[in-house]
């Protein structure tokens, strides 16, 4: 992919982000932060590539360490978001 195609995806995603985030209800802003935290750990992809690669030992260990950090975030972020969202309940109608 050339740079311009990647840039196009990025710019369009910024627009999508802008509209999607404004439509998030303010009551869920804390879960929003927790879940954005979890998904930004998709950087684990880069960590996995580094950890799986041969050729440079240092790079491999840096990659493995990054896998640990990103995994804390992925599992922790999604779990804490799920825990919060489970608490939001509607009024019981009688």
């Amino acid at each position: 992919m050339d740079f311009i195609s990647i840039l196009s995806i990025f710019v369009l995603a910024c627009f999508v982000g802008y509209y999607v985030v404004w439509s998030v209800t303010p009551a869920l802003h804390t879960p929003l932060m927790a879940v954005t935290n979890a998904i930004s750990s998709v950087i684990v992809v880069g960590a996995l590539i580094a950890a799986a690669a041969m050729g440079a030992v240092t790079a491999k260990w840096l990659g493995l360490l990054a896998v640990v950090l990103a995994s804390v975030n992925i599992f922790g972020g999604f779990a804490v978001t799920a825990r919060m969202l489970a608490m939001y309940k509607k009024k019981e109608r009688r």
Binding site: M1, I9, F10, V11, A13, C14, V16, G17, Y18, V20, T25, P26, A27, L28, H29, T30, P31, L32, M33, V35, T36, N37, I39, S40, S41, V42, I43, V44, V45, G46, A47, L48, I49, A52, A53, G55, A56, A59, K60, L62, G63, A66, V68, L69, A70, V72, N73, I74, F75, G76, A79, V80, R83, M84, L85, A86, Y88, K89, K90, K91
Partner: protein, 481 residues
């Protein structure tokens, strides 16, 4: 043109993961759809990770020797994931909801550090990432990876400071270095200069110096910011962690990372804007720092004794049980006093008496965006009884009792009338328009974080309930029961 083209199925899988993340955020438009959204997000992450592991799996005649994954490596990677998962899940289960801002700050720092590590790994082994020819890293990739490393480093050290301030390990008071603006701008300029120089010279010292300086600037940027502004800082660092992921996405030409980075980046930016607007502060003035410590001692001007009405728990219970509608205005002080469960009990008793009970939330009622809503949800307050400032402000005039607990500045009418007040212009809840205002406060001394006296205390329709928030609510519950 740079980088090795990915097979279509890999590229499509990453695109699918990116789409899942968009849907995860979309789900948060209402609590009902949010839980499914979160599951879609998890699925997206699983797709991204599985695709990466499969694509970098050993194949019979390795067309690319760097992409051979042997069983030992696979075990190491799975071990690393397992360690991270265990730490993450245990933390997520144990954390108190009041400590959510610290947790989020800590998580941000991990994303930042991971970005730095990935950038460093890409620098040390560019062939594995397909961003180099004969050891020469593509110039575009050099900019992308150095930006990723720099933003990641700022996110890391900034989040660590934010964590220490929020967790109370470090005073919330702003630490002001002399000539800090010159130091900060100078450091920033040097970082940008080094990134530019890195394009022409890929020596190790350039990459590592700029990363080290970025760690330093992240630290310098956050220490002058006061504890009261931490909601903005946490949102801002959220945004940075997104931009760091996006920069690394450019390096790896990975659509999942680019889409996610853009989403998270915009999300943090919007939340920072919302927080600034709620405090009537400009983003620049927050970043410049120096405002608001932990608790400013009441100024001499506010120390003059003024008459006020004092009430008891019984008075409060009587007034509320006779009311048609009660609006509860909770602030962070309520959470500190752990009064939310007693408060919900009180609301339940009132509802049994036929009183309509609503909650009014100011955007900065908690320590991070939406924090108060989570704290109320944890105390089993139904979310459809909880309203945002702009949705409920007009209702105070039609309300019999406004019950203010643990909030102060966000109810101060001076923000609307007194041009000399430090909080002038900040949107506030119009509690004084209610027939009666019940205001729980530990004592008459001391003021909110802005150090401003609240004229609401001395109004004819205000009754001060001077006690610990939790004790007072428990006594009201007793009086109602």
């Amino acid at each position: 043109m740079h980088g090795a083209a990915l097979p279509s199925w890999v590229a499509l899988a990453y695109l699918l993961a990116g789409g899942c993340f968009i849907l995860a955020l979309r789900g948060l438009s209402s609590p009902e759809s949010s839980r499914r959204g979160n599951r879609i997000g998890m699925a997206g992450m699983a797709i991204a990770v599985a695709t990466t592991l499969l694509y970098y799996h050993p194949r019979p005649s390795g067309e690319n020797p760097f992409k051979l994954l042997n069983m030992g490596t696979a075990a190491e990677i799975l071990g690393a994931i397992a360690i991270g998962a265990a730490i993450g899940i245990v933390t997520a289960r144990r954390i108190a909801m009041t400590a959510m801002p610290q947790l989020v700050a800590a998580f941000h720092s991990l994303v930042g550090m991971a970005a730095v590590l990935v950038a460093a790994a890409a620098y040390l082994n560019p062939d594995a990432f397909g961003i180099a020819v004969a050891g020469q890293i593509h110039q575009v990739s050099r900019i992308e990876m150095s930006l990723g490393a720099a933003i990641g480093a700022i996110t890391f050290s900034g989040s660590v400071i934010a964590f220490l301030k929020l967790n109370g390990n470090m005073s919330g008071k702003p630490i002001l270095l002399p000539a800090r603006h010159v130091i900060n701008l100078g450091t920033l300029a040097v970082i940008l200069g080094l990134i530019a120089y890195f394009v022409t010279d890929q020596s190790a010292w350039v990459f590592f110096t700029l990363t080290a300086l970025a760690f330093l600037i992240g630290f310098l940027l956050i220490i002058p910011i006061g504890g009261a502004d931490m909601p903005v800082v946490v949102s801002m660092l959220n945004s940075y962690s997104g931009w760091a992921a996006a920069a690394m996405g450019f390096t790896l030409q990975n659509t999942a990372m680019i889409i996610t980075g853009a989403l998270v980046g915009s999300s943090g930016a919007i939340l920072s804007y919302i927080m600034c607007r709620a405090m009537n502060r400009s983003f620049v003035s927050v970043i410049a720092g120096g405002f608001g410590g932990d608790a400013v001692a009441g100024g001499a001007a506010g120390a003059i004794d003024r008459p006020f009405k004092r009430g008891s728990a019984e008075d409060a219970a009587f007034l509320m049980s006779q009311a048609e509608q009660v609006i509860i205005v909770p602030g962070y002080g309520m959470a500190v006093a752990q009064a939310q469960h007693a408060l919900r009990e009180m609301a339940d008793l009132l509802k049994k008496e036929g009183v309509s009970v609503k909650y009014a939330i100011h955007p900065v009622a908690g320590r991070m965006p939406g924090h108060m809503n989570v704290l109320l949800a944890e105390a089993n307050v139904p979310y459809d009884e909880v309203f945002e400032l702009e949705d409920i402000n007009s209702e105070f005039a039609r309300t019999d009792v406004a019950f203010v607990i643990g909030a102060n500045d966000v109810t101060n009418p001076a923000a609307k009338t007194d041009k000399s007040s430090p909080i002038y212009g900040m949107p506030v809840l119009d509690v004084e328009k209610a027939k009666t205002v019940l205001f729980i406060k530990r004592s008459m001394g001391g003021a909110g974080y802005a150090g401003v006296d609240n004229e609401l205390f001395y109004r004819d329709n205000t009754m001060m309930l001077l006690a610990d928030a939790k004790k007072m609510v428990e006594e009201i519950v007793k009086a109602l029961g």
